[in-house]
Amino acid sequence: MNLWNRLTCYCRRRSPWLFHMNSGSCNGCDIELVASLTPRYDAEQLGVRLEGSPRHADILCITGPVTRNSVHAIKTVYEQVGSPKAVVAIGSCPASTNVFIDSRVLDGPLNRHIPVDVFVPGCPPRPDAILLGVAQAAQILAKRDAEGSGQTVAAANARVEMQP
């Protein structure tokens, strides 16, 4: 790895910009994500910035159990995030569809549609847990190459299942 690559990897870890997307969430996790940016938790220490456009972001934070209507939007937004990118699924809903399991309006969980790197469980998860998830995603991001190779749904699922 040459010097420029090492520099960009380091900078990528120190500057994760988030884009927040709601795929039918009850708003509980969304509130906790915003709470993690407040003065009490101060995510900006990690270089985190909440961006308005997915094109500016590095990490896609998705809440909610993935309704049928939101699947197309999730895929579009995922494509609009520039490589290298990471996805954090916030709350129990995107991980397992939670209490809405077997609902006919759902097309979840999230890792059927896009590769998910970090799951933050909880209903809703605490802001500290969300920050830990974002920090882990930033570590993953630093190791990822700019072409975005290996970012398929199957590869991401296999990676997540290998973790304890």
Binding site: G52, S53, R55
Partner: protein, 304 residues
């Protein structure tokens, strides 16, 4: 002034080698001041540098339905104009050679705003278009006051040359003009209470919404260079001239630093104003002030 000195001025101080780190420093001070006022710790010192390098290393996702070349050109034009404006600042004394005047400096400082407007409209996003329209309204509002203040300073001192302006002793009228310029700076730099064009909670990122990767990095850099040029202009006009060049440079940096701190604290302490309130503020309140400054200047010139 020979060629090497001119090149050194353009490339080292106050040109690119000074301006780019200064731009990052000012962006950091802005974010850190807001964080401290909210009792947070805030971003680490190197944060703007990390952001810039990270954005350079990212790929740009394909966008549909717009011409790529023009959109790629706007951020580059903005950066080069802002860097040129910083290079023109007469911090170090020179003799002969190319000397920019105030009019060229103002023109170069205005180019990034025009690029932002054009970029927003050429990206064809509805949010970017709203942001561009707001930026256009803002430009029309503050520029009347800004230009009147500059004209009053130049008329009071009988010169448009930057070198001469930096060397002449300051008068009360000049201070009036400097205050008018400082009132315009929050609007020029898009910070609170005049952060209308890039209002995150309303129109996402405004004109920048379709930009990604290296192009976005260029926009960040041009914003930082605008900070350096704008605060540098105030420092040039406000700081008295000393015979020792190092004292001049030191005072220039200290004064720019003070202006950045003042503006950041203002940004942290205020909320965003609506577009009609902003326009009314500049057209009704400060225009009166600027007209007063220029009419007193003209009266003084007639008497003398």
């Amino acid at each position: 002034m020979n060629l090497t000195v001119a090149l050194a001025r353009m490339l080292i101080f106050p040109g690119l080698l000074f301006a780019v780190p200064a731009a990052w420093l000012f962006l950091w001070i802005e974010r850190k001041a807001v964080a401290l006022m909210q009792q947070r710790i805030g971003p680490p010192f190197m944060q703007p540098f990390f952001d810039f390098i990270k954005l350079l290393g990212k790929t740009t996702p394909a966008r549909s339905g717009m011409s790529g070349l023009l959109m790629k050109a706007w951020p580059l034009i903005a950066v080069s104009a802002a860097a040129g404006a910083v290079g023109l600042l007469p911090v170090l004394p020179t003799s002969g050679g190319f000397q920019g005047d105030l009019i060229l400096l103002l023109a170069l400082m205005e180019v990034p705003s025009i690029c932002v407007i054009a970029a927003g409209f050429s990206s064809r996003s509805i949010f970017a278009e709203i942001g561009s329209a707001r930026e256009a309204v803002l430009t029309v509002s503050y520029n009347v006051v800004f230009l009147l203040a500059i004209v009053s300073i130049a008329a009071a001192q009988h010169t448009f040359r930057l070198e001469a302006l930096a060397e002449l002793p300051s008068t009360p009228l000049r201070w009036l003009g400097v205050i008018a310029i400082i009132v315009c700076l929050p609007a020029k730099l898009h910070i609170n209470p005049f952060s209308l064009p890039n209002a995150e909670q309303e129109i996402y990122s405004g004109p920048m919404i379709e930009y990604a990767g290296p192009e976005l990095a260029m926009w960040e850099l041009s914003h930082g260079l605008e900070w350096v040029a704008a605060t540098g202009l105030v420092a040039t006009l406000a700081v008295p001239h000393f015979p020792a060049w190092w004292l001049d440079a030191l005072l220039f940096i200290a004064c720019s630093f003070g202006v950045v701190l003042l503006l950041s604290v203002l940004a942290a302490a205020t909320a965003r104003l609506a577009v009609d309130t902003t326009a009314r503020f500049y057209w009704q309140c400060t225009l009166l002030f600027a007209v007063l400054a220029i009419s007193s200047t003209l009266l003084m010139r007639l008497r003398s």
